[in-house]
Amino acid sequence: MTISRISKVAISALSALAFIGSVAACAPGGTASSSNVKSEAASKDLGSEKITLTLWNGAGLKSFDEDLIKAFEAKYPNITVKGTWDPDNVSAQNGPRVISSADSPDVAAITDITSAVRGKHVISLEEYAKLYGWDIPESQTVYYRASSDGKVGAGDLYAVPDAVSMTGMYWNTKVAAQLGITEAPKSVEELEADMKLAKDAGITPMIMPAKEGGTSFIYQALWTNNSGKDVINNWILQKSGSSIDENGAVKAAEKIQEWAKAGYFSSDAVALDGTTALGRFNKGEGLFFPSGSWFSSSINEGLGADAGFFAYPGNTTDQAGSAASNAVTPYGIPANSKHKNAAAAFIDFTLSDEAQQLAVKHGYPAIMEGAWKSDNPVLNQILEAESGLVKANNTTNYINNATAAMQASGIIPNFQTLIDGSQAPAQFVQAIQKQWDSEVK
């Protein structure tokens, strides 16, 4: 018998079986979860009984989390925290499964608030917020509030950010000095003038890792300049009727394409990944590097005193700068958590002065107000920029997080075609909006 005949038989047999399966069984999913969780009334009192609290997060945050855990265990001697950290490149994908499993962790990073709330996999933290009197800046909790059907932006609080990640522009002050640039640009116009100087001197004006969507940070700043932060935030929060297909967004895309055509980005931007881009910037191979607070330690190590950081400037010198900013880890309590009170105590602890200083020590801007200082001069510049932006109240969430697949299927491919010139700015925003429409229900 030939393979072809085998395959024919196999295909027909399999289709028949599949048909039977589909008729016999009910819809997939929805059968797991809800272990025997005893309900406990919200309380600050954790008693003296020995408790093992389980925690889940991404691997990049392990050392910060371990310091948090150590300090937390010192404060609550009867609680032991057992952490699990998934590799960062899969934590976003594993997140929804981890928090919905029957043996879910007691406290976990909530990677997708919408599906977590819609599926009732996390509990509302309102009672604990009142109990502990959490006073977190509204601009930082709005992304973690949701209505009971998973609409983010208003409603109960479902996760609490422990620290802030924020975008901004790194620059090499030594290279700048060689070009005669003495201070950071205060407007997009000044930024363009500086990039032209670099280009004419044969230095890469802006290192651009577009293989992984690194263009979105500076684009988002331009869009915020053009259209104001509410338009951007509404779109990220999936408010109905929101669209990126609007004038300010097209103008921002035109600017990006103009810069690409002028040769202001790395010549191989579309094939350049974030790690390689960081390596090049640390070797002094460029003037600007649009990125975020997460690289503060590596850039401090790489460039030392030559490293600088500033917030993305406004279109003109009198317009306030802006940044995309959200939680380093939005901690929430899965519905199947067995120690909800202890989990809430841990979340409360992350907001304490002691924990916030630990965040700064690990290179993450604190979320609570305070006179935080770091021995990393680059981070101090970030903290300074952050407090300015918080005062100006001009931060947005990341457009990359607007939908679950926005980064992979919207941002990355479409910025690549915008940069290589094969897609016009107007089509660019339409393509991004198409991805948004396909996922927002």
Partner: protein
């Protein structure tokens, strides 16, 4: 072949012997395939209750250019993963056969087979560096005075899929050579002697003796390399992730992205099933073509 009647008792016993293997096959191969087919009829995020959509996911695959485009890309990759390695492999294998020194020929074989030992993911990373703007490939071109032919190979839509294909070619070549060599070893040497005496040259021998003698091996090479082209994942995922734009997107990467990033398990399953059917449709007829005379 004559049909022989099998005694019922013997049939029962043989089936019993088959049972353990069949159970494993059913649980680890058939059942996942059936489940995938079942999922493909639903709109499901992988966690919560799914909604029945019938053939809706399949309709989307054949109407969304990003989805059917990825299938077309994988067919284009057949040129690089399959046709080129077999043609080059055949020529190299015949040349190696003519090497008289055993040690030299084994050395050459080991060298050419080495890429096959390297995992596709690792090859993807290494080639990403070589194909970069200042990578080895462009450096070689520039040093040969061919600077006008340099590209950011993985960053330009016009050449990216071909560049990914070259990585595949490099990985598949060694396998084809080794397999074809073993086939050549099985061809009766007296045939070549007789042909030489009759005045047949190198090319004549290749087409009259070697090629027909390698029918089976070429069939195996074609089957395995075509499957690896259509189901490619690791090379593309490591080198381009489907970019620039969607110019190198293949179904393997698309399925992964749909299922785990976009949480569209139903659509991902439908694409996987479509891919499986396409692979069978291509490989099935190919097998019967190659095996026709031996039946």
């Amino acid at each position: 072949m004559k049909q022989r009647r099998v005694r019922p008792r013997l049939l029962m016993v043989s089936l019993l012997f088959l049972l353990p293997a069949f159970l494993f096959y059913a649980v680890f191969v058939l059942w996942p395939i059936i489940q995938t087919m079942w999922y493909s009829l639903y709109d499901w995020n992988g966690i919560d209750v799914a909604t029945w959509v019938g053939l809706g996911n399949y309709v989307q695959i054949f109407t969304d250019s990003n989805l059917y485009g990825s299938i077309l890309h994988s067919f284009f990759l057949i040129i690089f993963f399959s046709i080129m390695p077999i043609i080059v492999g055949l020529i190299v294998a015949v040349l190696i056969k003519d090497i008289k020194l055993k040690s030299v020929s084994s050395f050459v074989q080991v060298c050419l087979f080495l890429p096959r030992v390297i995992p596709g993911a690792a090859a993807g990373v290494a080639w990403t560096w070589m194909l970069a703007d200042h990578g080895a490939i462009n450096q070689i071109l520039r040093s040969l005075g061919l600077g006008q032919f340099t590209h950011v190979w993985l960053g330009e839509q016009s050449v990216a899929l071909g560049a990914v294909g070259i990585i595949g070619f490099w990985l598949q070549l060694g396998f084809c050579i080794v397999l074809l060599l073993s086939g050549i070893g099985g061809i009766d040497a007296s045939l070549y002697e007789a042909a030489s005496l009759d005045g047949a040259g190198w090319w004549r021998q290749l087409f009259a003796i070697t090629l027909p003698g390698l029918r089976g091996q070429i069939g195996v090479c074609l089957t395995l390399t075509i499957v690896s082209a259509l189901a490619s994942f690791d090379i593309v995922y490591m080198s381009t992730q489907g970019g620039p734009g969607t110019s190198t997107m293949v179904p393997g990467v698309q399925v992964y992205r749909l299922a785990f990033t976009q949480q569209s398990v139903g659509l991902a399953s439908a694409l996987a099933v479509t891919l499986m059917v396409l692979v069978l449709l291509v490989v099935g007829p190919l097998q019967s073509l190659v095996n026709k005379k031996e039946d």
